[in-house]
Homo-oligomer: 146 residues x 2
DNA sequence: AAGTTGTCTAGTGAGTTGCTCAAGATTTGG
DNA sequence: CCAAATCTTGAGCAACTCACTAGACAACTT
C-alpha cells in the first residue's frame, strides 16, 4: 500500500518546475541535483509526464523541461495516476481501471462485503489527492531566505 | 498503491471464520475451497493471523482454526497491517512505522510540502479501515437462502 | 502406534522497481 | 556547417517482492 519512488520523484520534480513556471526551462541535471534524484531515472519520469501533456521540452544546448499546464490545473492525483497507475486499493473498486476479481466467490453475486469498504477508501484517497493542486505547494520553496 | 492478495485472502478467510465464531473450528482446506484460495498460501496467512493473536488453532485429526477475538474487536485496518504492513502511502507519514525519507531535500528542514497531503491520505485510509469491524460483514453469508 | 492435522523453513518462477547504458535526434553557438 | 550540449528512445539489469509450492516436523486423536 505504498506509492512508488517514481511518483515521489515525479512530484518533487514538478515542485521544482512550478518555481520556474512561465520563466526559464529546467534541465534534467538541475532538477536531479536539487532533488537528489538519479538523473537517468528522472528522465524516464519527465518523459512520462511529457507524454501525459504536463510538460514541454526542448533539445539542444539551451534545452530543458517546462510546465505547460498551470500549477493550478495539476493535481497530485493526476500525477500519481500517470506514474503509478490507478489509486484504487483493489481493482474491483477502481473507477479508472475496473476489473472484477477473478477468484472472489462473492464477485458472482455482486455482494462482496469488502467492496463497500474498499470503495470508500478509494473515494477518500481520490478526494484528497484530486483536490491538492501543485500551486498549493508553490510557496514552499526549498532554498529561500536563509 | 494496492493491497496484496495476502490481505485480500486474509480478510476473506476471516469472514469464513466469523461465521463459525463461538462454534466449531474450520480447517485450512475448508476455508481454501470456499474462498478459492491456494491452501498452502492460505496457511501462511492463517499463521500470521495466529501469531498476531486473532486466531487459535489445534492440530490433529479434529484440528483447525478459530477466531479468538470477537468480530466486533477486529478491524480491517488491523488485519491489513498484520498482513501488508503499514497503511501510510509513504513512510515519512506512517504512525506505526515512521522513517524519514533518505533523499528528500525537504526532510532536513521538516517542511516537506507533500507530507501534509500524504498525512491526510494516511489518516483518511486509517479512519475508514479502523472503523470497519468484521462483525459488520457477518450477516453477508455466502451460501445462504437460495 | 497410526493417521491426520497444524507448524515451520526454505525455495521458486514471474513480475515489478529502481536504476544504468548506449546509440540516436535535435537544437544552438561558433 | 561543425561540434557540443541537450533531450529521446530503447534495451538491459540487479535486487526485490509477490504469490505460491514443497517438504520435513510436531502435536493431537483414536
Amino acid at each position: 500500500m505504498k506509492f512508488s519512488k517514481k511518483s515521489e520523484y515525479g512530484l518533487r520534480a514538478l515542485l521544482e518546475l512550478c518555481d520556474t513556471y512561465g520563466g526559464r526551462v529546467l534541465q534534467r541535471h538541475e532538477i536531479a541535483e536539487r532533488q537528489n534524484i538519479p538523473v537517468e531515472f528522472l528522465e524516464q519520469i519527465l518523459l512520462a509526464l511529457k507524454r501525459a501533456g504536463l510538460l514541454a521540452s526542448r533539445r539542444g544546448i539551451r534545452g530543458g523541461y517546462a510546465l505547460i499546464k498551470s500549477p493550478d490545473d495539476i493535481t497530485l492525483g493526476q500525477v500519481i495516476r500517470i506514474l503509478d497507475g490507478p489509486l484504487a486499493p483493489i481493482s474491483c473498486v477502481s473507477k479508472t481501471a475496473y476489473q472484477k476479481c477473478a477468484d472472489c466467490p462473492y464477485a458472482a453475486k455482486a455482494a462482496c462485503p469488502l467492496q463497500q469498504a474498499m470503495g470508500e477508501v478509494r473515494d477518500a484517497i481520490a478526494n484528497i489527492l484530486d483536490h491538492y493542486t501543485l500551486s498549493r505547494f508553490a510557496h514552499t520553496k526549498l532554498a529561500e531566505g536563509s
